[in-house]
């Protein structure tokens, strides 16, 4: 299966390793990954400021770049939420465009829902704190939010928990916003920073060694405090953890799949 890789603009420029980890993970699950190099930004910063006229051309660019792919995968819940939930203002009844917005997936939901991945092989022996990025949580519904009532589930947590030797932190507030919020981080600097420091403190009390999320933007904000205050926490995008786990078992896994292959060959 061929997937179009959509890498958020700031990940492209500031966190290239997250993009590479995403490619590795997708390839490990047998995907043929294609990164169309004309892509830039989904337009979320403009749309969230209310400047829809400035976001519209970027939405149209997104359509132009990605419309030929069956699936588009992106290592960000927030950018995917922009495409899937908020592009409705820009599709203007174009059925092909509307269909593309529904074929665009955040990495974890692509693994869980499309590829039906139940287990990430390999080990990652750290205490991991999962930050539930809001747009992934409440717009893409990657997990049951703490406000709503019903069977609890979490696509990201389930994948993380399937990794051997991983331990997940128990937080006091399981899904409170980190306070990044795009331009909110600048416009409301004081509240944004208080929110961020409160999240870091919650992870600290829970013994988090590696702080992860589906959105590097939340982690960029939280990492800003962690580094300023020299806290013993490291941030990693969830794709980087998957990649680390998968590469830890690459040899063993290769052996196993070779075994399987030989077995099939033998029987045929």
């Amino acid at each position: 299966m061929k997937v179009g890789l959509f890498v958020p603009c700031y990940i492209d420029q500031l966190y290239p390793d997250v993009g590479l980890a995403t490619v590795n993970v997708l390839e490990r699950f047998g995907m043929e990954v294609d990164f169309p190099a004309t892509q830039t930004c989904c337009g979320q910063p403009m749309a969230n400021t209310g400047c829809n006229d400035d976001a519209r051309p970027l939405a149209q660019k997104f359509f132009k770049v990605f419309h030929l792919y069956d699936h588009v995968v992106c290592p960000s819940g927030s950018c995917v939420a922009m495409v899937r939930q908020h592009y409705t203002h820009y599709t203007h009844g174009n059925a092909e465009f509307e269909s593309l917005t529904q074929r665009t997936f955040e990495l974890c939901e692509f693994l869980a829902d499309v590829l039906k991945v139940e287990k990430i092989h390999g080990t990652f022996s750290h205490r991991v704190g999962l930050h539930q990025s809001c747009h992934g949580l409440r717009e893409l519904r990657l997990a049951r939010s703490s406000e709503t009532v019903g069977n609890s589930y979490s696509k990201v947590r389930q994948l993380l928990e399937s990794i051997e030797a991983i331990k997940l932190s128990d937080l006091q507030r399981t899904d409170e916003c980190c306070g990044f919020g795009g331009t909110f981080a600048i416009n409301e600097e004081s509240v944004s920073c208080m929110m961020g420091q409160d999240r870091v403190a919650d992870h600290e009390q829970a013994g988090t060694e590696v702080l992860t999320a589906v959105d590097m933007s939340c982690l960029m904000h939280l990492d800003g405090f962690i580094r300023r205050q020299d806290k013993p926490i490291r941030v990693m995008h969830v794709a980087e953890i998957f990649d680390a786990a998968l590469s830890s078992c690459s040899e063993a896994d290769t052996v196993r799949s070779e075994d399987a292959l030989t077995a099939t060959e033998r029987t045929s």
């Binding site: 890498v7 700031y10 492209d12 420029q13 500031l14 290239p16 993009g19 590479l20 490619v23 990164f35 190099a37 830039t40 337009g43 910063p45 403009m46 749309a47 969230n48 400021t49 209310g50 400047c51 829809n52 400035d54 976001a55 051309p57 970027l58 660019k61 908020h86 809001c134 747009h135 409440r138 406000e147 009532v149 507030r173 409170e176 916003c177 306070g179 919020g181 795009g182 331009t183 909110f184 981080a185 600048i186 416009n187 409301e188 600097e189 004081s190 509240v191 920073c193 208080m194 929110m195 961020g196 420091q197 409160d198 960029m220 904000h221 990492d223 800003g224 405090f225 580094r227 300023r228």
Partner: protein
């Protein structure tokens, strides 16, 4: 006015801001326990939302039905198009009855219409009888929350206030002692009042009756002794049938304070023996919102305050930072819907986390409405020019892949070379408390291209 400035002042007192956050988080947690105890919670929300949407879609019909049925019960029904007219009507009724002293139970509508200052100007003694409301009234400040008006105050603050106004012992911060002092003080006010004013939580079209919910029983006390009861309600407080009430009473108390039901749900069907009951139906901008499809749903609001308790920004900036009667997420829609120029900053006082939307018992899509409101504010060019130009520039860069790559390359090249003082200064709000992200040598697209090239080279020819 600007929310960020007010919020910065609130956050500056770190200990108090954290205390405020914890106090409201405690209420949110209580709400969670209560909601999660009902497996049918999401069905209740859906049903309540539909009842409200239905009512609003036929508001004129239900209002007239309510008026007819209320009159049958012997109630005087008044209509006010705005706050000024509302205040005039209330003043007129009080004048006619030669009232001097008024007791009020909590009503956000009268706060919205600024009834108290209006009546005080005319020489009436107006006493808010909800404990929290009384506290903020004595402090001569507006409530900071619609359900917990004095949530921004600590017991020490109340003690100092009561010492001054009620003559309580200096330094006695015991909540029991302070509450009893207030109780004694308010009993005298109840006994001496000539008229009682209440709000309305739910008015029922089918019966012409209405319900007022209080935890302190002060609505009952306030309207049982005086012969005159004036109930003030926004026109969106209507529900069609008495049988719809159970739905809302179950949702309201659980969402507001995490109680299974409010302590007193007082039903009023006509005046007390020998008395008069007046209802003032107030529009004050509500039909304006009704006419705007994208914000119509905000009229579902039953004023439970759950969106405030859950809002990470409200909890850390306090109700007064919004400078509007109804603060928090719902207030950040209602206020700019009425006056976008004055309240333009409120929809931006939000990280768009969506917690308010998920907590709302009547399913108002709060965070989406806040986002839509930002669009209106930018469209009307109320958003400061500096912000609009920034977005226009970013968009121009992002439209051109080559320019984006070039700009990114320049930034990644220059940033690591700059001395710290050039990066971290007062022109960089990000860097005030946070480190900047790393600026790697190569972008993802460069590394990806390198990798692709290497793989092709590695391929056996």
């Amino acid at each position: 006015m600007n929310h960020a400035t007010q919020a910065t002042a609130f956050v500056a007192n770190d200990e108090r801001a954290h205390w405020h956050d914890s106090a409201l988080w405690f209420v949110r947690s209580k709400r969670d326990k209560c909601a999660h105890a009902l497996p049918e919670w999401e069905d209740l929300r859906a049903a309540a939302s539909e009842v409200k949407m239905h009512t609003i879609s036929r508001l004129a019909k239900y209002l007239e039905q309510f008026e007819v049925n209320a009159k049958k019960l012997g109630v005087h029904v008044h209509w006010a198009k705005d706050g000024a007219e509302h205040n005039k009507i209330v003043h007129g009724i009080l004048q006619k009855h030669d009232v001097k002293k008024v007791v009020k139970s909590k009503s956000m509508l009268t706060e919205e219409c600024h009834l108290n200052p209006c009546l005080e100007k005319h020489g009436y003694e107006v006493v808010d009888t909800d404990l929290g409301e009384r506290i903020v009234q004595l402090r001569e400040e507006p409530p900071s929350h619609i359900v917990l008006p004095a949530i921004h105050l600590k017991k020490q603050d109340v003690s100092t206030l009561f010492e001054k106004h009620l003559g309580t012992e200096a330094g006695n911060n015991d909540p029991q002692y302070l509450t009893e002092a207030a109780r004694g003080h308010l009993r005298d006010k109840f006994l001496g009042a000539d008229a009682g004013i209440t709000g309305v939580n739910f008015a029922i079209a089918e019966t012409g009756g209405f319900v007022v919910c209080t935890n302190e029983g002060n609505a009952d006390l306030g309207v049982s002794l005086p012969k005159l009861h004036i109930a003030c309600m926004g026109i969106e407080k209507l529900i069609p049938r008495a049988s719809d009430l159970s739905l809302f009473l179950r949702l309201l108390a659980r969402s507001a304070t995490g109680q299974p039901i409010t302590t007193y749900s007082s039903h009023f069907h006509g005046p007390i023996a020998g008395g008069e009951l007046h209802i003032v139906l107030v529009d004050n901008g509500r039909t304006e919102i009704l006419g705007r499809e994208e914000f119509r749903r905000s009229l579902n609001c039953i004023r439970c305050g759950a969106c405030m308790n859950t809002c990470p920004v409200y909890r850390r900036s306090g109700g007064h930072s919004y400078e509007t009667t109804v603060p928090g997420p719902i207030g950040s829609i209602l206020a700019p819907a009425r006056d976008a120029n004055e309240f333009y900053s409120l929809p931006y006082a939000c990280s768009l986390c969506g917690s308010c939307t998920d907590v709302c018992p009547v399913k108002i899509d709060l965070h989406n409405q806040l986002l839509t409101m930002r669009g209106k504010i930018a469209e009307k060019k109320i958003l400061p020019w500096s912000k609009r130009i920034q977005m226009r520039l970013t968009s121009s860069v992002m439209k051109r892949t080559w320019l984006f790559r070039w700009a990114g390359g320049i930034a990644r090249w220059i940033m690591p070379k700059l001395p710290r003082f050039l990066v971290y200064n007062r022109f960089n709000p990000w860097g005030k408390q946070r480190e900047m992200p790393p600026f790697p040598k190569k972008s993802f697209r460069q590394l990806y291209a390198d990798r692709k090239r290497n793989r092709q080279e590695d391929k056996p020819k």
